[in-house]
């Protein structure tokens, strides 16, 4: 079974530019999450998709961030325009809810390291 894959693994852009991160979850996983770690701080939740619907986007820092999951498969996270403080590692994770009694753990990708200069 292929794991969660993220692309690119690294991205270096200048302030003001646009970057789009992609996440391919494990096939069949309805839940998709974006997290990020900035400047060596704790990993923070950004948002949660259930299939193509945004279930919770309370962690999105501002309107420069736009996440989509058209068709409920892969997801993209666009940062436009990028700012210096957006530098960090962006993780994607997916999970499959088996039933109401069992919690399926999150499967994380290896992240995209974003550097804004």
């Amino acid at each position: 079974e292929a794991g969660v894959t993220q692309f690119p693994s690294h991205s270096v852009i200048e302030k003001g530019q646009t970057v789009t991160l992609r996440c391919d979850p494990i096939s069949g996983h309805d839940n998709l999450y974006w997290y990020r770690r900035v400047m060596g701080k704790e990993i923070k939740f950004l948002l949660h998709f259930v299939k193509e619907s945004k279930q919770d986007e309370s962690g999105m820092p501002n309107n420069r961030f736009l996440a989509e999951r058209t068709g409920g498969t892969y997801s993209t996270l666009k940062v436009q325009p990028a700012e210096l403080e957006d530098s960090g590692v962006y993780f994607c994770a997916s999970s499959q809810e088996l039933n109401t009694e069992v919690r399926s753990p999150l499967h994380f990708g290896n992240g995209t390291r974003l550097t804004v200069t």
Binding site: V4, N31, Y33, Y35, E42, I43, K44, F45, H48, V50, Q55, D56, F91, A93, S95, E97, T100, R103, S104, P105, L106, H107, F108, G109, N110, G111
Partner: protein, 112 residues
Amino acid sequence: LAKTTQPISMDSYEGQEVNITCSHNNIATNDYITWYQQFPSQGPRFIIQGYKTKVTNEVASLFIPADRKSSTLSLPRVSLSDTAVYYCLVGGGNNAGNMLTFGGGTRLMVKP
């Protein structure tokens, strides 16, 4: 979401058993306790999950007391490759999704 507290770092030697305790005093009734392991330049990797009592799998055991206000991850006979950051998370108590909150984690250093 329940806040967790765990040691910032721990040292151990190869072959020893390592126990990492996490406090989560505000855990909700339907929250699960999940532990993740993270190596540099990789995403967190699921280790074990439990709700109460004891859970054991091929890599670790998780001990949860009756009040569920803490939990202990036990790694038997660690090796150098177990050097990593270990995160204790609680959550996932509702059907809207298991959004989890990461704390600072415990940096485990296994020495030869």
